[in-house]
Chain length 248, copies 2
Amino acid sequence: MANSPSGDSVLDRLVRILGAFSAQHSALTVSALARRANVPRATAYRLVESMVSHGLLERRDNGEVAVGLGLWEIVNRSASANDLKTIAMPFMEDVNQVVQHSTQLSILVEDEVLVLERLSRPGHAVNAAGIAKRMPLHRTSMGMVLLAFSAPHVAEGFMQRHGTEIALYHQDFRRSLDHIRRNGYATFDGFIDEETTGAAAPILDNKNRALAAMGIVVPRESDQLPTAIAALRTAARGISRTLSNLPA
Amino acid sequence: MANSPSGDSVLDRLVRILGAFSAQHSALTVSALARRANVPRATAYRLVESMVSHGLLERRDNGEVAVGLGLWEIVNRSASANDLKTIAMPFMEDVNQVVQHSTQLSILVEDEVLVLERLSRPGHAVNAAGIAKRMPLHRTSMGMVLLAFSAPHVAEGFMQRHGTEIALYHQDFRRSLDHIRRNGYATFDGFIDEETTGAAAPILDNKNRALAAMGIVVPRESDQLPTAIAALRTAARGISRTLSNLPA
């Protein structure tokens, strides 16, 4: 692969350029993009031009560029995250209708919760979980469920890497995880918004390991938590069963 | 950009490799990928290796590769298609709850309908519109609405390019589009599945041009079509208004 004098390949630079966009910065000028991606400005202009002509980026009327619809289409047509989403979506809608609060689906990626899908109920409890957003494992009910139902080395590794941070929120983290494993679900009060409680249940494979977690956010002082958890656990089991019945 | 002897740049090959994946081929062996992407096999092995290490692709246990979660995350965190989806989703859920049939959101891209989002009702009417799928403009209610509410040159250009194909389905295409403009919605019987009827309404900008279309699929012989259309038009107007109230 062609390398620049700095040893950067085209792919290195392309990935840094794509990675420079975020929910807050979904459109950027090429100069801002060059800065955020740490790519020389002249190189950025050339590469952006080429990425626009290939549909990886698109140019807005104001001259800013954004992730292109062509790339959106390729990724959403075929990404493996979609298989899980497609199966989970009807079950998420069931919970959404029965409980009338936002539901979301997430997986564990690089010591964080990555939100794959979200069904929101505007006007209901505040919910920080946007699609493709990341959240801390040890501060969300989905993260706690993902850790509790992961292979033992996953939770142990996480504790080694984030012990100090965990101690701010948990007196006895291992015991909390045990508790969640016994109950089959997790609850967590006031992540980001103090007025809400999150609850989550695992979507399990046939070895009882979490493939994903399904979560819901309810107002903290409501009496809806028990019913929300019942709906959530029922739906999560439905997803697990549907996945296990798929041809390999 | 570094070109191969054939004049292909890294970016050309990368885009062809990503484009080789589809809903039916969401995971491929590197040989199959090389063939579908028209990239020499040795080059494909090298480029795939590099794309895997950057998270653009991911390797499955069986050795096949697929579009990577890293790329999924970048694209879904920031793509402009998400702005529209985020605003439309609560309205789509409203229609879904009131009408109890699948709803979808789409835009016009390169003479086709591109589906941005879909809420499905399993067990209800068959719906061919998957997320990021494309469908023919002149054979779907969403496509007809997108054309009817586009700038005049868009429909005329489409007619010039696809006249023969259009004639198979429409006696007087211009008159059909006029009719849809007057009514404010479109219906279309039996696209792919003969047992269903689709209905669609436009999401309009302040020049009365369609930014997107919202569609629903109901069983053909049901008496639900009038109520479905009423719900759909109401929700589409809500999305249009919400978009027009956004800060520029």
